[in-house]
């Protein structure tokens, strides 16, 4: 009886362990496949050159630059808004106020909205409504400049998509600022805003940075929101203005793997592009994990 029970126990524990091992092996396998597949094509020229010969040769520089511009503009728009929302939620709002609860609910909901719906929203709101409105005011609708997919609208769409990421990690960081620090500042006669500006925020810069990095990582990896808000199939030159379209790494992977003229001939390029994208998000996530570990260490220490 006890022997039988021990066998059952071992197999049950083994089963859960197997699931865990399976996940780890799978992650390693995916990474290995992509690294091996892209290794031969990977070179300095691949990163710094433009695609040539109908995208069957050359590099992916415009896609890398486009991704960088996208996440840069996205961060400029999204990180301040996210940070201020986090300040509101943790410093100003009483946890029981209906507005704070509603905002918190909105943030949670926003995190669960599918990326493709953000894309539709970007098209309906930014491109058609805002862009169309700007065109109407500027030229009476005769010149169509903003009412089409472009870098700015794609970045704004992405900023909204990554807003919850920023809010959650900044709020976590603000909460680790010791209450005594705030109390000391207030006791010295500083006002609430002075306390936030001079005490709370300087102590949560790591958290704001983490939020930004996580948002950039998410933004660099999402393709669905920019499918029809600004990404371009192929552009020989870099976007020169906010109203230009742009190439993007993830989108490049998608079209090269599904819609390019010769999918088999460009396999190396596809793997290498995926590798670049993966390395990018990997580095970003790794630095976010590192930064977060530092925040948590402070909380304990």
């Amino acid at each position: 009886m006890t022997f039988k029970r021990r066998i059952i126990g071992a197999s049950v524990v083994g089963g859960t362990g197997l699931a865990a091992v399976g996940i780890v092996v799978l992650v390693l396998y995916i990474m290995a496949t992509i690294v091996i597949g892209g290794w031969d094509v990977m070179s300095w020229e691949f990163i710094t050159d433009s695609p040539t010969e109908g995208m069957t040769a050359g590099g992916i520089f415009p896609a890398i630059a486009g991704t960088a511009l996208l996440v840069l503009i996205m961060s400029i728009a999204g990180v301040p808004v996210g940070t201020i929302t986090a300040i509101y939620l943790s410093e100003y709002a009483s946890p029981r106020s209906w507005l704070a609860r509603l905002i918190r609910f909105a943030v949670n909901t926003l995190a669960g909205v599918p990326a493709i719906v953000f894309g539709l929203f970007g098209l309906g709101f930014f491109v058609q409504f805002v862009g169309g409105g700007i065109d109407n005011i500027v030229s009476g609708g005769t010149v169509m400049k903003w009412a089409q997919p472009n870098l700015l609208w794609a970045s704004m769409t992405m900023a909204l998509l990554t807003l919850p990421v920023v809010i959650v990690s900044v709020e976590e960081a603000i909460r680790t600022v010791p209450r005594e620090l705030r109390a000391a500042s207030l006791a010295l006669g500083a006002t609430k805003w002075q306390t936030i500006w001079h005490v709370v925020l300087p102590n949560s810069t790591t958290g704001i940075l983490t939020g930004g990095v996580l948002a950039v990582s998410r933004g660099a990896g999402e393709v669905a929101p920019i499918l029809f808000t600004g990404a371009a199939y192929f552009l020989p030159q870099l976007p020169g203005a906010l109203s230009d379209q742009f190439m993007e790494l993830g989108y490049h992977v998608y079209i090269m793997a599904t819609q390019s003229t010769n999918v088999d001939a460009t396999q190396g390029i596809q793997y290498a592009t995926t590798l670049v994208l993966l390395l990018l998000t990997f580095c970003l996530n790794f630095s976010a994990i590192f930064l977060r570990a530092r925040i948590r260490a402070r909380k304990i220490g």
Partner: protein, 389 residues
Amino acid sequence: MNAASDVALRLDRNATVFQQAAVESAAIPTAPAGSEQSGRRRLAPGDLRKRFRPDEFFAEKIITAVAVVSLATIALIFVFVFREAFPILFPPEVQSLAMDEEPIETYGEEVVGNQTSGMAQGQERSMRSETAGAEGGVTAQNLLSTSWQPVSARPQYGLLPLVLGSLKTTIIAILIAAPVAILAALFTSSFAPKWAKETLKPAIEILAGFPSVVIGFFALMVLATMFQNLFGYQYRLNAFVGGVAMSLAVIPIVYTVAEDALTAVPSYMKEASLALGATEWQTAFFVTLPAATPGVFAAVVLGFGRAFGETMIVLMATGNAALFSLNPVEPVRTMSATIGAEMAEVVFGDTHYTVLFFLGALLFLFTFVLNAGAELFIRQRLLKRFRGD
């Protein structure tokens, strides 16, 4: 408007006490001479009231206003996705009326730069919508048919194959992801030695950090061929491949939420079970897991929502043929993939465009309800259970 007292009343943390004391101590030296003579005067109730500071007041108002952005975004998503999908919610007669007015506005002003071509397109499109109306363009009957052929002489907008496709892929993904993720979560919370935890957690974080287009690419290049060789079915890209790939995206979510729920089970429950002579695995499976059921269930629901809306993976790995069949190894076209693949090519404001927005509205509603439900469920049930009400 007694704004200052309003603010004072609403400040609720103990920080306020310090602040009021600070304001008070700052105020005493500048108090009128008359009160100084009485030496240590007593505090009148009014003295504790915070002085009105315009900068503080506006700082708070501005911060509150910015914080409302996320709320506004949700509202705007509702408004704009549904606005574009709106014509479809009308019966055909009303719709054709609405459409006669709309194109002039949409095409002339917003979309097409030059007025004449705008008019031409508007006319062309209203003709098109008339013909579509004659064929029953977006009648409920058409929407509920089983054929999705939006680009043809007789456009068919049957949503059923798309809904079925989404459900099929999502269910396959959940059937794989949920057991794996829940078992792994149970392993971490109940059995794992420290080093195993420290290997698994980063692996999960890395998996969560994989862009969905990378997973889609992996499925397209590696999984599809591997499974075809393994099982020998006919189509290389199908619902099964898409579902397996999607489970990779779902595992981290289910794992994280389930692990939180399992770790939150109070230790006295486990200790009581162990004290009664139950083994560790019996405690894990018969005490910890049942106690965390609401959280684990919520984890699965959240995973379901994520999978249902996922676009890039299914766009790349499912073959994208809108077949109306239950066979898991046939190609499918999901709702999200349909939007992703077709939106770039439609004419703004056209019936096809409207139907795609309608699909988006459905997706949004569905995930909204799932997420809201899961959140309420976690809060209410889990808290209630652990407080022992």
